[in-house]
Amino acid sequence: MFAALALALLQSNEADYYSVDYLQLPPGAIVEVGGMGFLPDGRLAACTRRGQVWIIDNPLAKDPKDATFHLFCEGLQEGLGLDVENGEIYVVQRSELSRLRDTDHDGVCDTIDTITNQWGVSGNYHEFAYGLPRDAAGNRYVALNVGFTDPMWWHGRSLAPWRGWVVQIAQDGTLTPFANGFRSPCGIGTNSVGDLFVTDNQGDWIPVCPLEHVKKGGFYGAPASLAWTDEYLKTKTTPSITNPVDRERTPPACWIPYKWSRSTGDMRSAPKDGSFGPFEDQLILTELTNGLVFRADLEKVRGEYQGTVMLVRQQVGSGIRGLFGKDGTFFVGMTNRGWGGLAPGHGIARVRWTGKTPFEVRHVHLLQDGFELELTQSLATDLNLTAANFDVTQYHYDWWWEYGSPVRPDGKLDVTSIDVSSDRKKIVIHAPIQAGECVSVVMKGLVSVTGEALLHEEFDTTINQLPEGPVCTTPVARLVPPPPARESEWEGWLRLCYGDATDLWPNHAGWKLVDAELDVQDPTHLVVKDGDNALVNVGNGAEKASDLVSGAVFGDARVHMMFMLPKGGATALMLQGNYGLLLCDSGDAKTLTTKSCGAVLGGATFAGKAPALPVFRGAGLWHDVDLTFRAPRFDPMTKKKIENARFVRVMIDDVLVQEEVDLPEVSSGAWLKGTELAQGPLILRGNLGSCAVGDIRVKPVQAPVDPKPWTALLGDDGVEGWSAAEGATWKREDGVLVSGGKRGWLVSAKHDYANFEVRAKCKISAGGMSAIWLRAKLDKGEPQGICAVINASAPNASRTASILVTPDPDPMAKSADAPRLVSLVEVDTWFDYRLSVTSDAQGTNVIAYVNGVQVNQATIPGHRFDAGALALEQHHEGSVLEVADFQVRELPK
């Protein structure tokens, strides 16, 4: 449903009413705006995440090229909020609130005064400090992000004082903690009467982005911040990260639907003089991920703000800061580095009302039994509105530790009647609305007296309270039992391009690991620069990029990836190299065909299959693909195919586009031209068009159980017969062997394993490093033999599944080492490790499998390591290896 709406919205003519242009940046400058303000003489000051402050002359110039930038200050520690008072610029840095002064009047800041640095900075990367509104008394407000730590980053943590708080800073620099319960409160500002508002970002305890009216002492839902309240300080405890705290939450004025905003920025009141069009005095908000501007139309119900959100203008860019110029121009400061968002990813956009009034719902007024809508233009005289013109749906969210909450639908409401005012500019929708709910209203078929359709057909209203009746005590974000722990989220997944992105893709000619975003000047191109967010098929001189072919092969599997395309861009994800899913810019075409994004590609006779819904949201936006694939089946005797391959399920951005699609033959463009196999590589087509892909993961569906017997290596009640060498300690906990202590090894009693396979379930801690040694000799100190590495995150480049040989048999010729540089497995995550070691006349062959997939192979010449012990390694103190189901199977020589 959301995707269908998104497409309809894209086809609206927002540009007729709100124009967008971009200030021209100095050559080479990256202006990642974090705050903006006007100097008394009308110049615009903008601070950036790069710690610079730019001053822009002539920001209201008709031609954006006539606005000129000069660098006023550099070297700050990230600037995410700016205020101008008495002509002086104040910037909130990550570590302090500062005043920037130009004492010798040469146009460049020379003196930076610290107003306060009395909030905590633990050093966690995510401890942003956002600002910078000022109240009538001159107090400033700063919102402090919590930290996110590995491995369970989704639990926000308050690692230093006032993290997760809004703090108040008086003119003399005195800092007062003001309100708490915030997670990632990127937007902070005031409305026209000086009331303080914050937007937070969805995540743990924040189901979707809220717009909060912040009052002193309020708690806004995310518990980590409570660590700095007396209740927890006295008991030296911290709030639970998984169980809800027993504390009254202040509900937000609005919950902002996820489909509109995934990362909300700050807000400003639209001018009352109508210079920004018909939304006088409403809050205009910026949005980063989808790169749009929307509005919040608030009213006070029983003394508290609550209200409605609606779109204003899409296709603006990654906005996080807004500011109104005196002529009604809405400046949008943009940045998306590391956060992902619609291009442009930096710079300053200007959204201006063209003077033409859109046909819109100007204002939504909550009634006891519905809504009164005020329109910007009269309804067409011959239009007879009925209940059928309105879809009214209730929903709520879950308040829990999981990252965000799904929409929890509470059903469609029967619209009982519709009233239209005599001037045909007001509509009353009567429906049995309830408090403690959000309501989505979709208006169909509304036409203005001038024949225009509604520019935006949906609004979403948060109803914390109805105007009358008993006070509602049920919040929209419901208290629910904690969901199951997420430890297993990564279990079974192989990350195919995490870390050294091309390591597991032996054929990657013409693909580069870069940061990519849409070229705003020419949206048919991507701009690439140094970075590691995406693989892009930039090509190789005159040659187009080759196909990106994985080294590992897969059968039944779940696959996840992300893609982003320029206008006209395309690629295809080929399962087993044979069965294609088309990922392309479908353009504005309204009918869905086998050339639409999400189509299953056809072959010689198979026509392919169009997607069920439109899913391509636009050039420059990242899309998620999640699919389940079933490989073809073959008769073990005749080798003939007995069952076709199948796309079981394909989701793009959570929209189901394909389900149970039988694949009678390979797609055109398949790599083996018709040969179907039980297993094959994952391929991304490199020459269909320009594309950026990333976060490619595969979860192999386990193969049938191998009937051949395995022998347990570790008895139930201890590590029988094995001996600990050097400083490591090994203990058993619930059938799991856990390493500890200093560097050392655990060595098998048997010292003549020759040809064999071992397997184990393994788990390694963050920063930990370990190994299974094969055919090892430990006469004294360090072992010699074949080492199969277990390393998810330690600085050593050789990651899990690396096969290293000590000492190298003939380093001058060709090292026998086969390092694996990609981080296949997440830290602290169980994986199946299987190693096979066999020798023949030429030498020794070692194969490493992770989660059932062969991911590495090494050939060791000669016969130096023909037999030896098995050993587990504790690489360094602090590393924790866990091993279960450690088994061996000897093979004939």
Partner: protein, 406 residues
Amino acid sequence: MCAFVAAWCASDGSAQNASPNAPNNSAQTSGATNTLHVDPEARALFLTNCAPCHGESGDGQGTTKLERPARSFKAGGFSYGNTPETLLRTITNGIPGTQMPSFASALKIEQRRALAQYVIALGPEQIAVEAKDTVMVVRDKPLIARGKLPPIVDGAPERPRGLLVGLPDGLTFEYRTDDVRLLGVRSGDFVERKDWTGRGGDPLQPLGQLVRASRAGNPPSMFMSVSGYKDVVRENSVVAQLISTRALAGVVSITYDLIPEGDRANGSIARITETPSAYACKLGMGWRQVIQIEGVGDAAAIALRPVRSVEAGHGATSVGPDRGACVDIVGETSFCDVIAFSVPDQDAQRLSPDYAKFGVRTRLRKGEKVTVTLIHVPGIAQPPNAKSPGGSLPREFIDAVFTEVR
């Protein structure tokens, strides 16, 4: 100033020859290896080993007859990647199923590496990837960069609040700002803003070579507040709180307040303005910190203190005893080989040969100022020993310093 740095390096064998104003090399594009510096040896290797199949010019038109033509390097057609690493891998291992053999035994690793570079250079221009733009370069004016600092030496902690002062002569002073302490001094290029990548929050990467790290990156406070006098002296810790930084007309200064620990409510007793700069004399090269102390309260009693605890009445040089309490000002011997100090507007200008012990105490009324200059020149004095705990300073140096601070 370049001469200064060169001399500096000559006087300290551990420092590399740094050239602070040289173009920034780290901004080169990773893939931009097309500038062909023809290595004659690589050319010869190519002609012997590769040209028979791939052609003398690398166009794939060699003299050997093959079932499938060899790759043309000129068209940039590399089967298995076009980076030095992947090409080295291809040359080393060959390509199974083709006539491309392994050169692992025929050629040494250095030869294979040289060949890989040579072959890449035969290809077309690679797609340009934007150069790294995250390096701050100090040119003719000093720069101050704030950010998280990485451990200055192994085992030291990160400093979430830090500040780097970069001077045009290539010196970088590295401070943490929670309590305003100099962690170390570097020589070379300024800083790479690692916090300009990803979501931000990464430590800065100072590019200069570390010349001195103070106390394994954990310097003690230089100051203490003192109450009482002579027999009854109470020394109290002070905390420093950053007030402002300034970069003006080529001079950088850092201003901070000293607040007695345990008596924070009464606020600052003294305001310090510290100006770091380079220092050169005939005997060696180093740096100096000019420290101006201004009384803030009515009876600011401040000591710039020795690192080694000074017994009351011993070792510290009392300035203006009639004024009572003090600040001991002392350099830290583990940090500086030589520290000279001077209090020009007092009568007690002196340089302690017994430098492990010296200190300055003064009591300042509100608005009164005293300036102390600490001069650090590595490598001049003998290290302290039991007989002469302060070591000894050459007369020539003492004269130079006095000339300097007068």
